[in-house]
Symmetry: C2
Subunit: 331 residues, 2 copies
DNA sequence: CTGAAAGCGCTTACAG
DNA sequence: CTGAAAGCGCTTACAG
């Protein structure tokens, strides 16, 4: 590689490395370095194809200009897109992003935090796992800049960017109610995470208001055995003496699997059962009828989170911010 | 943060930082450090919660234990998955991955290479853009370890991992021929990249063998205006006096858009037109009929590429390897 | 106002 | 065989 160092440039021009650093970083204000000399340094650096070594800079300055991103499931298109927008936006601040994945495992989240810490990221953007609260609290205690994404914890000691889960879920349920559904089921995945609870609560509120709420309409599935659980849940729901006429799926993955199950059971959507989904999937576009869904503002979520994090990095006293973005019902 | 440095540990134990480094990196062979002392050092490091600073290590050792990954379109699920498997596998070598995206722009690819170089990645995994050959050659000239993914260039001076595009495309076309299709169209996107050419050539070979080849059946679309181009192409194909009865879509994205266009035109698959796709989409599962597709071994591709790259990093004289993995026709 | 020196946290080549 | 010193490439606090 034989890469050119700042000293090489300095030697060539006949000044100290410090002067070169000052000029190239635009810190030669107050006429500290004459414009003629500065110009000469810049030209020589260009001619020699000098590229700063980020590692050395980071080690010395204590700033790596790197963000550590930890998502719960990168194979989920929602998180993949989120990662994409985060990276695009971070680039505008000259920040790089190291993306890591936990597969919803708190153990892996701990490992990823350790790796990113050893790489001296300036801050964290995290979609936390269930039970990940202690790990987050540890980062907070160490005064490490951090913004949570999509999910959050009851103890509001960390900034977050999420969507209005409660309100949008209520709207989604109301959509089915307005289509004259009476027995609307809700399938969500078992977790203590609040965003999922809020979705369920929104559903319950809408159903209760119409006096149609029945606890047996709610089915919980496990993340690890989701497909089988959904299959079992739907089977129970349709074989009940009072058949269901609608389903509100609480997430992207649940929706896709749920629609597959319905197809396998030869249940037609929306003829036999009407459906509404939380989050979009390219799959919907191709199904024989268009399916209503709650659209999350994913680019906005990523961008806002980056903005908040950069602000925290630059100002350790930046206030906590809890941001709920509007998700829209599309149909 | 007040993080613990190697010197803090050394001071506490009463030895030099060098000795601590030796012990913790397992380089105290030949009884260089007595087992008792080594044990004491390890215990103290644990007790003090010492975590090495990767930046300092990388700066000194010249190895960042980081891979730079450059993909052409992270919003494409194929590449998103590829990135995921690469990361999972790299972790086994204690390597981190910085994922970047080019949106098929060579200009952006140049920028990403510069960023990753300044971060001193040990090697590159690249899904190159069209016209990206010069940039690749520059890396090769600088003896930087590099493995191409999915795509490759005529001048075989870089290792790559790809799939057998020609053979699997031929098989896909044969599938439609065996279903008694006579006028099978092929929609691919305009590029000089060889992987796409190979897919077209496989299609042509299969059609020619049955004396059914007609150049007007091949439609080229542009990456930037893909949806409109596909719409126009299909309109032309179906309004031709000899109507088509089959389509082979050359990529993931083309397939999804193509199926949407067919749906909008009220053309039923497979009743009116039979279809086969290169690459899978969750969308297929939900369409009213299951759609045959060529399944790429994405996890294997990611893992093999990481293996090859690590080998190059560890041995600058490692031979070039051109690997074609088997893609399977699923129906 | 400006240059030379110190030092970020490591690892490794080199004296003793 | 083993310890202390040099140095990776930068930036910044500190003398002059």
């Amino acid at each position: 590689m034989a890469s050119v160092s700042i000293r090489d440039v300095a030697d060539r021009v006949g000044v100290s490395a410090a002067t070169v650093s000052l000029v190239l970083n635009g810190k030669d204000k107050n006429g500290r370095v004459s414009e003629a000399l500065a110009e000469k340094i810049r030209n020589e650096a260009n001619a020699m194809n000098y590229k700063p070594n980020s590692l050395a800079r980071a080690l010395r300055s204590g700033r790596s200009e790197t963000i550590g991103l930890i998502v719960a499931d990168i194979s989920n298109p929602f998180f993949a897109q989120l990662a994409f927008y985060i990276q695009e936006h971070a680039e505008k601040y000259n920040y790089s992003v190291i993306i890591t994945n936990t597969n919803e495992s708190t153990e892996k989240m701990e490992k990823m935090i350790a790796i990113l810490n050893s790489r001296k990221v300036d801050g964290f953007l995290i979609v936390p796992t269930e039970n990940g609260e202690n790990l987050i609290n540890k980062l907070v205690a160490d005064k490490i800049p951090i913004v949570l994404l999509d999910r959050y914890f009851p103890e509001k000691n960390v900034s977050y960017v999420a969507v209005n889960n409660y309100k949008s879920s209520k709207e989604a349920t109301n959509l089915l109610l307005n289509l004259h559904c009476k027995r609307i089921a809700h399938i969500y995945y078992k977790t203590s995470l609040l965003h999922m609870q809020a979705r369920k609560d929104g559903y319950i509120a809408a159903m209760t208001k119409k006096n149609l709420f029945d606890p047996s309409l709610i089915k919980e599935v496990n993340y690890q055995t989701m497909y089988n659980d959904i299959q079992k849940a739907i089977l129970e729901l349709v074989s009940h003496e009072q058949k269901i006429d609608g389903i509100f799926f609480a997430s992207n993955t649940i929706s896709i699997m749920g629609l597959n199950v319905l197809k396998d059971m030869h249940i037609e959507v929306p003829k036999d059962i009407k459906v509404v989904c939380f989050d979009k999937s390219e799959a919907f576009e191709l199904s024989n009828s268009s399916i209503p869904y709650i659209q999350q503002p994913v680019s906005e979520m990523g961008e806002r989170a980056v903005d908040l994090l950069i602000r925290q990095i630059n100002d350790k006293k930046a206030p906590l911010i809890f941001e709920e973005l509007q998700a829209n019902l599309m149909f």
